[in-house]
Symmetry: C2
Subunit: 352 residues, 2 copies
DNA sequence: CTGAAAGCGCTTACAG
DNA sequence: CTGAAAGCGCTTACAG
């Protein structure tokens, strides 16, 4: 039924080896022969069997992507970047969207050991990192997308979150804020941790203070951010600057501040992290540390494919730049290094 | 290097055929022999080669998922459902996240024709539906997730959006709204179309009117919803009920109504569609037609795997129920059939 | 309950 | 520039 390489060979009056050469674009084939073979392949609608190519060549031209959850706000954007980065290479994307532990992880590891994929792209693998190290030691190409978690020691691409945190601190300092509060996110979304390091480092010795009493943990959700601000307010803690490790939480924080009658940015300046969907549409629009999620995914895809195709990898870990998107939850200030305004500030935004 | 079935056979003193039988859980193997073989496989860490199994068995135990874009608000939720539904079956998920046309689609079709996957799950395929029909005619198992687009004639699962629309209409009627406006979404997210049919059908003969002048099209984004309401208001059109074909647009619509000083739900009652992330956190929280995205994905995955494993498919198209989630953008009314309150209404919500 | 052999559809040295 | 042959690592009748 199915057209095979043998059919093409017979029709063209050549051997399977020659057809295979044409298929793989080898240069050492007679022009006329090549043209004839290609014509026959087109006429018959021949498509090589991925399964046979896989077995014979030892490669599937597919990479496995390990993503803890598609529900993390920035994950779809990052995955779309991976898909877009992969598309032109012809590599397929085998998606494993499940938490990095338990039987699901075992299943993933087995499929990887069964050579269903040529390499693995792991997004913030968390608990799966030990498995990945073992697979990597076993010779499997692995690339980790680090969004702020502990460096794994594996080949990685990430974003310069520490710098993003420093920029956030500079913006609050430029706005004259001296009593800072911070809402941290869940362990599964560790971008905030690294960002916080750059943030606190930059604050050191400036007169602005971030007390541990003013740091509260939340779960990444809008409601979580709302609750976190309520905790701060109920504890009667004073703060005029707030750094929130996630835009969804920041949206909730803004809601709580609004309900409490606290003016933003007049009384409290707020900076988020991520620049995901809700950021541009909060009231006021959220100033936030932008992470280039899609670019991160695309860079990771290209880097991994590069390694698979024999490239040595581009040396050390790749670190993409973050940037500060200044919208309406921080007061308009003079130019701040790295500031980037994505939206005209509207007249009704309060000015300090 | 790699442990193969031949190694296991030699170590166990049996033939490859017997090892294969154990591998595939065939019952006709001696208990002791089976135990010995399994022990040896465990000791050696044997994992069957997915590539060899694929070639020999003619199946890859992988399904291809065609998703136009991961940036559609409900897509991550739906995809997570697919992944979760697939997990226990052991099937892999080859993700193709690109618009249904152009060279990317060609690449997808080629990979499908190359038998890289056993079947295809297509989410709202749009322009790719002709390709899918052809593949289906060629014998490929195909399942379409229909979110409101034209029925493709292919095996499908969908949500009962017409019923959801009818519920939305009933809610507005119960609230006494007679001048209705509607904001429709982009062609790539056609859920609203079907929903609108049920909506207008239910309105017919009730005294409530939805004029074509009061229907405006938007792009699915928050800003698009905002702009759409501004268009309606600038045209000086009166409306006391508003049905928006997407929660993100509804969030923008609420923002525009707020800026214009229109009270919600007092002056305008608003119903959204989707029940995606922004819905619960708008001000007031959005009343919306809930679509069970994750369940939709999981049902599709199970149905397709069922077909692949020899099940005949469950008869006609599967249609999951939608429901109305009543929050704060519609006035509290007595029990409405099918109403479902997901959140305690807070005291400060305006009451008509 | 088990084995020998053919076959899945390619790729890859090797030889010419 | 091209072909014959072996091999990738399994599964599947067929025979016993």
């Amino acid at each position: 039924m199915r057209v095979t390489i043998a059919d093409i060979a017979r029709l063209a009056g050549v051997s399977k080896a020659t057809v295979s050469r044409v298929l793989n674009g080898r240069p050492d084939v007679d022009q006329a022969t090549q043209a004839r073979i290609q014509e026959i392949m087109a006429e018959t609608g021949y498509v090589p069997s991925a399964r046979a190519v896989g077995l014979a060549s030892g490669r599937t031209r597919t990479i496995g992507v390990l993503a803890p959850s598609l529900r993390t706000p920035w994950m779809p954007e990052l995955l779309q970047g991976v898909a877009d980065g992969l598309e032109p290479t012809g590599y397929g994307l085998l998606l494993h969207a499940a938490a990095g532990d338990g039987p699901a992880l075992e299943r993933f590891a087995a499929s990887v050991r069964g050579h269903a994929v040529d390499g693995v792209l792991a997004v913030e693998p968390g608990g799966a990192v030990d498995q990945l190290r073992e697979l990597h030691r076993g010779g499997l190409p692995v690339l980790v997308v680090e969004t702020g978690g502990r460096p794994s020691g594996l080949p990685a691409v990430g974003a310069d979150l520490a710098d993003g945190g420093a920029r956030a601190a500079e913006l609050l300092l430029a706005a004259g804020r001296l009593r800072i509060a911070m809402i941290t996110g869940p362990a599964t979304d560790p971008a905030g941790n690294t960002c916080a390091e750059g943030f606190t480092d930059r604050l050191t010795g400036t007169g602005a203070v971030l007390r541990s009493s003013h740091v509260t943990e939340s779960d990444g959700s809008e409601q979580g951010g709302y609750d976190a601000v309520q905790r701060l307010l109920r504890a009667r803690l004073f703060f005029d600057g707030l750094f929130v490790h996630g835009d969804a939480m920041a949206a909730g924080a803004l809601r709580a501040l609004h309900e409490a009658g606290r003016q933003v940015p007049g009384e409290v300046a707020v900076v988020g992290l991520g620049d995901v969907a809700p950021a541009a549409y909060t009231q006021p629009p959220l100033t936030t540390v932008r992470v280039p999620w899609a670019e991160l995914g695309a860079a990771a895809a290209r880097d991994l494919v590069n390694r698979l195709d024999g490239g040595a990898g581009d040396g050390g870990p790749v670190l993409l730049a973050t940037s500060l998107v200044v919208r309406g939850t921080t007061p308009p200030v003079g130019r701040i290094p790295g500031q980037r305004s994505r939206r005209a500030r509207t007249a009704e935004l309060p000015v300090v």
